[in-house]
């Protein structure tokens, strides 16, 4: 990857990494007796490792600049590798943490491995590690192809990718040490948050400059979603994370928001992280990779525009449905409920648009597991947006809130929609990117598909059952008008479902491992090598050398 840079760019990259290393040293010095110091060391090691990569090819021959008329795909390739590494890591932690609910001693009496610390490691690993890297990698691909323009920067794509992964590493290692703001899906502490702002600004500038280079007069709708993802996540992230650190030598900080305000800000953030991180960006994948894979244009372009603005506008109001019957003012709860129901319109418009695009190509769906991944993702998108609107209705929420039903709903979206559309997109993207005719094994894609689908269904059904049973037990009265069940009764009833859930998650994890293997083999073996089964030499490995995998 360094070979593609001119000597001036190599120097610039080295300067950035030296600055980062100095920051790491400063953090280590300021936080000697604090976990902040450990994070300083991690920053130092991370930038040192990357600096080593840059310096080891520093004096190599400069690249042929005429190649710069081509698409810039190296960062995408590394991004895909990171995506799969985080997928396996995040889902493994997920299975572990699910198993702990059934067998609590699986924490092995250590602080770092207890449920409360592993749980954010799971959510961050899959949402930001897996989902975030997938979004960055595919956005780099889609923006170049739909604009027919090369990325507007040589170093900035690497900065965005590695900077974002540094954020993820700081986040996860922080949880193991007990560093968290306790804000759900925004747990990392103030310095990691500040770093993400820097990364995100570079991401936005890179994206908008690439769009500005485009040859097409119209910006294709997939880019709208990526742009909304980048912009709104920045807005949410900044507002939700305003905090005052205990001191510059402390990792710990206190948010400026208190009580009711904090709850509203937190769920305004939390729900829109679902909207703009886990929906908008993945809809962008849908609007590009579905037409490409099906070989048909999107059914209605106008509908995609209407649903884009609908989603961008409506989602922002819906966060307060997380706070029904709480101390939040009643009118805010009602607004949240109303808009959550209205949200179903643009959501189903998107899902319908996607399914109608497939209309006439059903034979492809039957034969092609990749297209089936995309189709099933759309169906789960439709189902979970319906479920979401339904659960936002106050009386329904009185039953579902605080129970496993919410967890089931989230995973119908996360496994069924987000992960499936990602896998469908990756299976479309990987052969194109590495110039292969197809994936290494179509059979393994098929195996992955069924593992993923079975895992999702088992998981979701287990959580639906446990959640509804739990909710009903809590509110059941005896004939004498007293509560029929103790809390403990409801917990005991959950154990079978917790075991089933861990099993469903395990199937899904196995699927991700199969996918990683399949992608690795696709990359490693060129088509010629496939015919005579001769392994490719190590120097032919198409993955850029010295790729640093995320620390796990």
């Amino acid at each position: 990857m360094v070979k593609q840079l001119t000597s001036g760019e190599r120097q610039f990259a080295a300067v950035i990494l030296v600055v980062l290393a100095v920051l790491g040293i400063a953090m280590a010095a300021a936080g000697r007796a604090d976990p902040l110091g450990v994070h300083g060391l991690i920053v130092l090691l991370y930038s040192g490792a990357l600096l080593y990569v840059v310096l080891s090819s520093f004096y190599e021959r400069e690249p042929d600049l005429s190649l710069r008329t081509r698409y810039y795909d190296d960062p995408i390739k590394v991004g895909i590798a990171l995506t799969m590494a985080w997928a396996v890591f995040g889902m493994f932690i997920g299975v572990w943490v699910a198993a702990q609910l059934a067998w609590p001693n699986l924490a092995f009496d250590a602080a770092w491995s207890s449920f409360g610390r592993l749980r954010p490691a799971h959510t961050t690993g899959v949402i930001f590690g897996f989902g975030g890297n997938a979004l960055i990698a595919t956005s780099f691909h889609v923006v170049q192809r739909t604009s027919r323009a090369r990325l507007a920067g040589q170093i900035s794509p690497w900065f965005v990718l590695f900077g974002f992964n540094l954020f993820c590493i700081l986040a996860v290692t922080g949880y193991f040490m007990g560093l968290t703001q306790s804000k759900e899906y925004a747990e990392p502490e103030w310095y990691a948050d500040l770093w993400l702002v820097v990364v995100w600004v570079v991401y936005f500038i890179l994206y908008i400059r690439t769009l500005a280079r485009r040859r097409e007069p119209h910006i294709y709708v997939a880019n709208w979603y990526y742009l909304a993802f980048i912009l709104v996540v920045a807005m949410l992230h900044i507002v939700n994370n305003i905090a005052v650190p205990v001191s510059l030598g402390h990792a710990k900080s206190y948010t400026v928001w208190a009580g009711v305000q904090d709850a509203m800000v937190q769920w305004w953030y939390g729900h829109n992280a679902v909207a703009f991180f886990l929906t908008a960006g993945f809809l962008a994948m849908l609007y590009y990779y579905l037409p490409i894979r099906a070989g048909r244009p999107i059914f209605s372009y106008r509908l995609s525009i209407l649903s884009f603005w609908g989603i961008t506008f409506f989602y922002m109001w819906a966060g307060s449905h997380h706070l029904h019957y709480t101390a939040l003012p009643h009118w805010v709860q009602n607004l949240g409920m109303t808009f959550s129901i209205m949200l179903l319109v643009p959501s189903w418009a998107s899902a319908g648009n996607a399914l109608l695009t497939l209309n006439g190509a059903w034979h492809k769906v039957r034969d092609d597991a990749t297209l089936r991944f995309i189709m099933v993702a759309v169906i789960f998108y439709g189902l979970s947006t319906f479920e979401g609107s339904f659960m936002a209705i106050r009386p329904v929420n009185s039953l579902s809130h605080y129970t496993d039903w919410t967890v089931g709903h989230v995973h119908a979206g996360a496994l069924g929609w987000v992960a499936m559309i990602t896998f469908g997109s990756l299976y479309t993207l990987v052969p194109t990117l590495w110039k292969r005719e197809r994936m290494y094994s179509a059979m393994l894609v098929e195996v992955h598909f069924w593992l993923a689908l079975a895992g999702t269904l088992i998981y979701v059904f287990a959580m639906w059952n446990s959640g509804i049973i739990q909710g009903l037990m809590w509110r059941t009265y005896t004939q004498e008008d007293t509560l029929a069940y103790s809390f403990l009764d409801s917990l005991v009833a959950m154990y079978p479902y917790y075991i089933a859930r861990a099993f469903g998650g395990l199937l899904f994890l196995l699927g991700a491992i199969v996918a990683s293997y399949n992608i690795w083999m696709t990359v490693r073996y060129s088509p010629e090598a496939l015919t005579d089964r001769a392994p490719a030499g190590p120097d032919q490995g198409p993955l850029p050398e010295n790729v640093t995998a995320p620390a796990e």
């Binding site: 409360g116 968290t180 905090a243 948010t255 928001w257 305004w268 966060g319 101390a327 605080y402 809390f487």
Partner: protein, 250 residues
């Protein structure tokens, strides 16, 4: 000419970005802006206490261990919740909570009013190994809390940071933070008196983990759990509560 065309394109993508922000910011502004004046709608409560340094340290441990992932601190205005956990939570009760810990999931029960329901000894045994006390429990064991000495030297900085975000700690409280943390967990020392003097007579001074020779993280967490729902009596006065506030002295 080509240059001009180019600039127009650049303008459209920037304009587009602005349109996205305009569309997306409305919902948040409409719902969040009025909350800045919400204090006017919340009854002022005179007896609202602040977390003592030890309780704040315990709260930080509660956050650190991710307790909020399984325990809520928000009793909703539903009959079964009020009968199970106590009077529903009021906005004023978390007005000094940076961050709020309302939670979103009850793998374990709600803790908004757990203060005073169980003895210190019960909490210590339960945190050390929940299954010793509740055989069916799936809560993790937190044995290391009793092993770890509580870091108290920088509690003044924590209080000062809390004050910076709006909690009315006085200079005197900040100055005495470490001493007060020690005193609250060491009833027989000279430092104990200062705690009740600064934070009110209702403050529970106790050797929470039963060991008076040193202050551990267990002391802090139990002190925090014991104050939950007891910072003010307002919820018991303003609502048709079926229960009385637990007596702080038992």
């Amino acid at each position: 000419m080509r240059e001009l065309f180019h600039r127009k394109l650049e303008r459209t993508s920037i304009g587009f970005a602005i349109a996205i922000i305009a569309a997306a910011s409305v919902g948040g502004i409409v719902e969040i802006a009025p909350l800045f004046t919400i204090d006017e709608t919340v009854e002022t409560v005179d007896d609202m206490r602040l977390y003592t340094p030890l309780e704040l340290a315990g709260r930080d441990i509660y956050v650190r261990e991710g307790c909020y992932a399984c325990h809520s601190q928000m009793i909703r205005t539903l009959r079964d919740e009020v009968e199970r956990y106590g009077p529903y939570s009021l906005a004023v009760e978390s007005k000094y909570d940076h961050p709020m810990l309302w939670g979103s999931k009850r793998t374990g029960p709600d803790l908004a009013r757990v203060g005073g329901k169980y003895s210190d000894f019960w909490h210590v045994a339960h945190l050390t190994n929940p299954r010793d006390v509740v055989p069916e429990s799936n809560m993790p064991a937190y044995r290391w809390l009793a092993r770890n000495t509580l870091k108290m030297d920088d509690l003044g900085l924590h209080l000062a940071a809390q004050r910076a975000v709006g909690v009315p700690y006085t200079d005197e409280m900040i100055e005495n933070a470490s001493r007060d943390a020690f005193g609250q967990a060491s009833p027989d020392t000279e430092f104990a008196a200062g705690v009740t003097e600064r934070y009110g007579e209702e403050t529970q001074v106790s050797a929470f983990d039963g060991v008076t020779t040193r202050v551990t993280e267990m002391d802090a967490l139990v002190a925090y759990l014991q104050v939950l729902g007891r910072l003010t009596k307002a919820p018991y006065q303003n609502t048709a509560a079926p229960e009385q506030a637990p007596d702080p002295n038992n």
